[in-house]
């Protein structure tokens, strides 16, 4: 089923007209309500009337994740707080999280985007959807939740973790759709096997997976281990959350909700727009968002766009699975982690040096992170309990800052390689 056929199957011309109107309105609103962006436009010699069509988009300055940090927490909101009905946050590049606010209309739009996504995935109102994304500041859980309710499906808001319970409810409630990170779905598949539960006894038929990169090989593995169709959903909290784009049953790229977000692909070095079909950094301009509209937000995700009409009948442009990042962000168990966040934690502690090495592995199907930290000579204690206490302190601080557990290993001073240029801080041994 196509939830909103008029939009999802609109001709390119119709879509560009919708986008142009909404873009002009958005630029006006931001210019008048966000001093920092107005200043950027003024520096570029632009006024809102200079933006007349989607083609003028490339004249506008970019918005970066650091702009969100510099305007922390609510500086980029364009409505008074009385209009904001929900706040979500994701990790920032350093200590401060990236904060987004939604008006009631934003939440309604978001729910519709997720509903469209679910329909693309072949989910309907008779389905029982187990939402195993985390509920909370992370947009995954609540985002999927309201989309399912809007569709009329039955939601099991189980949130993340607690694998035994996940499997029990899946079996007892006859769950037909699972929504979680792809790596967690593989973990569920393994546990299913370990517990000797026959997958033919489950009613599972579709999985909606996102929040971390996954390969076509992983897709095959998930589909066979759970006996389902695995659908890729994409989103980022800065732009909205899950449902910015989603695959249809043809699994041939994720349809972007173009009536809400205009995508561009740029060269991350020259910052110039690239022709359709070339791989580059994905940039989004939100055109219906009220709480925190963003112009030309650099996602740092590398992908390419396909404007051809899909076999499903939709004309919404499709983006390929992300090929990587144009920055050093890591996605670990669905959580965004920047090496700079780790560095900030270490710098705040006098006992450690800022020399560190992050090693990411995939053990079984779950990511694990090891952090090697040099002990500062002056804090070296000859008592094991003090060194253990230091290790626990670092582990605890990282857990509370990053939201993931890290295996901290204390190493001798000057054993982590120094380089003249950009230090190599991350060894990622996962084959993503």
């Amino acid at each position: 089923m196509i939830w909103n056929e008029k939009i999802e199957c609109a001709s390119r011309d119709e879509m560009r007209d919708i986008q142009a109107e909404r873009l002009k309105e958005t630029v006006r609103r931001i210019y008048h309500n966000v001093p920092s962006y107005r200043q950027k436009m003024q520096e570029a010699g632009l006024v809102p009337d200079d933006i007349k069509s989607v083609d003028d988009l490339s004249k506008l300055p970019f918005t970066l994740k650091t702009d969100m940090r510099d305007n922390y927490p609510f500086g980029l909101f364009t409505v008074p707080m009385s209009e904001i009905v929900r706040i979500h946050a994701s990790s920032g590049t350093t200590g401060k999280p990236t904060v987004v606010g939604y008006t009631r209309k934003d939440l309604n739009n978001w729910a519709e985007m997720v509903t469209r996504s679910l329909c693309m995935a072949g989910v309907h109102r008779e389905d029982i959807v187990q939402v195993a994304y985390g509920y909370g500041l992370f947009t995954g859980g609540l985002g999927l939740h309201y989309g399912c309710e809007n569709l009329g499906a039955s939601v099991i808001p189980i949130s993340g973790g607690n694998t035994d319970k996940q499997l029990q409810l899946m079996e007892d409630f006859g769950t037909t759709v699972i929504a979680c990170t792809p790596s967690y779905s593989l973990h569920l598949g393994e546990e299913l096997k370990a517990k000797g539960i026959d997958k033919s006894k489950l009613k599972l038929r579709v999985g909606i997976f996102g929040a971390e990169p996954w390969t076509e090989n992983m897709r095959k593995e998930i589909e066979s281990s759970l006996g389902i169709k695995a659908i890729d959903i994409y989103g980022l909290s800065e732009i909205m959350g899950p449902g910015v784009s989603c695959e249809c049953e043809h699994q041939a790229g994720m349809h972007i909700m173009e009536d809400h977000f205009i995508p561009e692909i740029i060269d991350p070095e020259t910052l110039q727009p690239l022709p359709a079909g070339e791989i580059g950094e994905l940039v989004f301009t939100t055109i219906t968002k009220e709480g925190i509209p963003l112009i030309r937000y650099r996602t740092r995700d590398l992908t390419r766009l396909n404007y051809e009409k899909c076999a499903c009948g939709r004309t919404l442009v499709r983006m390929e699975k992300c090929k990587g990042r144009s920055d050093d962000m890591l996605i670990i168990r669905g959580v965004n982690v920047f090496p700079s966040q780790i560095e900030t934690v270490l710098l705040e502690m006098s006992e450690t040096s800022p020399h560190y090495l992050i090693i990411v592995e995939r053990e079984g199907n779950l990511d694990s992170v090891k952090l090697m930290v040099e002990v500062q000579e002056q804090f070296f204690s000859d008592e094991i309990k003090q060194l253990e206490a230091l290790r626990k302190k670092i582990t605890h601080k990282l857990q509370s800052t990053l939201g993931i557990s890290v295996d901290v290993k204390l190493v001798e001073p000057k054993t982590i390689e120094r380089t003249a240029g950009k230090a190599k801080r991350v060894i990622d041994n996962r084959n993503l």
Binding site: D382, E383, I384, L387, L410, E412
Partner: protein
């Protein structure tokens, strides 16, 4: 009374202990007592050497995490129950021992290296009970 013990942080990887002993050997520094505390992740090498300050500086130059720690050494009869007597006295006076290691000198005496939480109090308690402590200069010469 107070002896400067050399403590070295070691990652659990092959060859590190060997490197330390090589460096000290090349500098003609003798080791008179030696112990290794280990966890699954790292170890701490503790030793009494002939020239603690010199050993400290050459190991630092070789990029080891190293420090000097104050310990004392009890000279005890090499006979059953001797260590128990000493520890009994210390626990009776609430002196807490962080760690200790011991070695026999001959069939008459043994040396017990102690790291108490309160070193001054420990010395006073042992001396009050006529326990014999090894002087630092004697210790470095062994």
């Amino acid at each position: 009374m107070i002896i400067k013990q050399l403590s070295v942080f070691l990652e659990n990887k092959t060859g590190r202990l060997n490197e330390v002993t090589q460096i000290l050997g090349n500098a003609r520094i003798n080791m008179s007592a030696f112990s290794v505390a280990d966890t699954s992740e790292f170890g701490i090498l503790r030793m009494i050497v002939s020239e603690p300050e010199k050993a400290l500086s050459i190991l630092k130059d070789a990029d080891f995490s190293v420090r000097l720690t104050d310990v004392i050494c009890l000279n005890s009869p090499n006979e059953p129950g001797a260590l128990a007597r000493a520890l009994n006295i210390l626990s009776g006076e609430s002196v807490f021992i962080e760690y200790l290691y011991a070695y026999s000198m001959d069939d008459k005496t043994a040396n017990i290296v102690l790291k108490p939480d309160n070193i001054q109090k420990c010395i006073e308690v042992l001396q009050a009970h006529q326990m014999e402590l090894v002087s630092a200069s004697d210790m470095y010469k062994i």
